[in-house]
């Protein structure tokens, strides 16, 4: 037959490695599930607990919203101030981490490693530590959120800095600008919209984070979550969840509108 002109048909690539990969993942998940005693039957056996719980949430204790409004405002303040301080602190760090600003290699790499280490520490953990240092107050939450914000803002911003257009920088160097002028007129105008957008994005994250920081004693609405859960007052818990939800969505919407205008 003429179809054999081009020699034998190439055999299908082996799918063994793919299957092995799937089996490997399955085994890892299975071992992990056994390790943490994640027996699906426990869940279904106790699922009536869940329905009881959901039942006791209704109707939500709407009056609790008025009681907790000062704490909710505290939460927003914490997020706002935390984001602001984080923003200020992240400005020098993001320039240090960008490869195209400072040509001192070891300094850039060291800052990046430092930033990566900072980013691994979860917000709630920072809050727990600062609550121990500064006492149970919103101040602890603000400090924790500031440090947490540095990780996000600096990381996103230095990547934006590395992606800027080199043209203006080269022309400025050509006419003899010094480093500070170079940054102020060559780099900043290019990254400013991105930077503001990242700050707003961080603010959105921080509102969510600030709402739960109170669970470890760092002020804000989380204190009331702790209290309501401690008293098994699930109708209050639901009221809090819905309240937080509305605030988060509102702030997200405002922030999204501003960000759309910026970029």
């Amino acid at each position: 037959m003429d179809t054999k002109l081009n020699g034998p048909v190439p055999s299908k690539p082996s799918r063994w490695s793919f299957y092995l990969f799937l089996i490997g993942i399955f085994i890892i998940v299975l071992i992990s599930a056994i390790y943490i005693d994640a027996n699906p039957f426990t869940f279904f056996r106790n699922s009536e607990n869940m329905f009881d719980l959901i039942g006791s949430m209704f109707p939500p204790a709407w009056s609790y919203i008025a009681t907790t409004t000062p704490a909710m405002l505290d939460t927003i303040r914490m997020a706002l101030l935390g984001t602001t301080f984080g923003m200020i602190l992240s400005i020098p760090i993001m320039f240090l981490c960008a490869r195209n600003i400072f040509r001192i290699r070891w300094l850039v790499e060291a800052s990046r490693i430092g930033l990566n280490i900072l980013r691994t520490i979860p917000d709630l953990l920072l809050a727990a530590i600062f609550a121990a240092i500064l006492g149970f107050s919103p101040i602890a939450g603000i400090v924790a959120l500031s440090i947490f914000s540095i990780g996000i803002i600096a990381k996103l911003s230095f990547e934006a800095i590395e992606n800027i257009d080199n043209g203006p920088l080269e022309s400025m160097t050509a006419v003899g600008a010094n480093k500070l002028q170079w940054i102020a007129f060559g780099v900043v105008p290019q990254i400013l919209p991105h930077f503001v957008s990242y700050v707003l994005y961080t603010f959105e994250i921080n509102i969510r984070a600030a709402a739960i920081l109170g669970l470890v004693g760092a002020g804000g609405i989380g204190l009331y979550y702790d209290r309501a859960l401690g008293f098994f007052a699930y109708d209050q818990v639901l009221a809090l969840i819905l309240y937080t939800l509305v605030v988060v969505i509102l702030i997200d919407l405002i922030s999204l509108k501003i960000r759309e205008k910026l970029l």
Binding site: V29, S32, I36, L80, L125, L134, I139
Partner: protein, 267 residues
């Protein structure tokens, strides 16, 4: 003059905009600062800070491994296990919901919109609150933490999946439809092969977040390394806090490195 008039107008308008924005910001900050009552830093702040720093410099190495009972390695393994099983649970739910929410797969926008609604509902639930609820169902421990992470991640993962599907090339699906493939075949041979790398990348990204969340779930009693950590913080044994945080940082860094290397290879 006539030429520069609109320019001037635009400039004036811009200046107005900036002034209003500036005033709003100032008002916002006055409101924020006046609301925070600053009672001075408590006297214990400095000694505690010193103790914490000391704890990090000389961490409690005996906590790394002890043959019986709680230790760092077991706690970290449990955290890893919570994140792994949690991500599996999210994948199982997020794939169908993500496909459901993708605009280009549904015939009417009503279908995809309802899917998107479900996803944003899941996205607004904080992991920690979910954990508190699941603790009531299955009792305190890693299982509750795993369920919280698993359910909590559906929203984000489903959204990322849906975006991936919406960005795909319609060509292969159309050609399969043209040669008579049914909906299921279109999905299996037209959609899935295209979006698989994106799905894996999104999943790995979420896994990195899961690792961090899993480390904090223990702070409220949902298992993992956070449980011994909160006890150590409450008991002011800072050398133990030091070793636990060092452990968390190392494990999260390793997971991030592996995950980002994998993501670079895939995409």
């Amino acid at each position: 003059m006539n030429q520069s008039d609109p320019l001037k107008k635009a400039r004036r308008k811009r200046r107005w905009k900036f002034t209003t924005l500036f005033i709003i910001l100032i008002a916002l900050y006055i409101w924020a600062f006046s609301g925070i009552e600053f009672r001075g830093i408590q006297e214990t702040a400095w000694p505690v800070t010193k103790n914490i720093i000391h704890g990090f410099i000389s961490p409690d190495l005996s906590f790394i491994y002890s043959p019986d009972g709680e230790d760092l390695i077991r706690g970290l393994l449990e955290t890893l296990a919570i994140a792994v099983v949690g991500i599996m649970l999210s994948i199982i739910f997020a794939i169908p919901i993500g496909l459901w929410a993708a605009k280009n797969l549904s015939s009417t926008s009503l279908i995809s919109q309802s899917g998107k609604g479900i996803l944003s509902f899941f996205r607004t639930m904080p992991d920690i609150i979910l954990a508190l609820l699941f603790i009531k169902v299955v009792g305190p421990g890693a299982y509750a933490g795993m369920l919280a992470l698993g359910i909590g991640a559906i929203g984000m993962l489903g959204k990322l999946y849906a975006e991936e599907v919406e960005a795909m090339d319609e060509g292969p699906v159309e050609s399969i439809a043209a040669v008579g493939g049914n909906k299921l075949q279109q999905l299996a041979f037209g959609v899935i092969p295209q979006v698989l790398p994106g799905f894996i990348s999104a999943t790995l990204y979420r896994f990195e977040i899961n690792m961090r969340s899993a480390a904090t779930l223990g702070l409220i009693g949902a298992g993992g390394i956070g449980t011994p950590l909160i006890f150590a913080i409450q008991g002011r044994s800072w050398d133990r806090v030091g070793i636990i945080i060092i452990g968390i940082v190392i494990v999260v860094l390793i997971v991030d490195l592996i995950s980002s290397a994998l993501r670079k290879r895939i995409v």
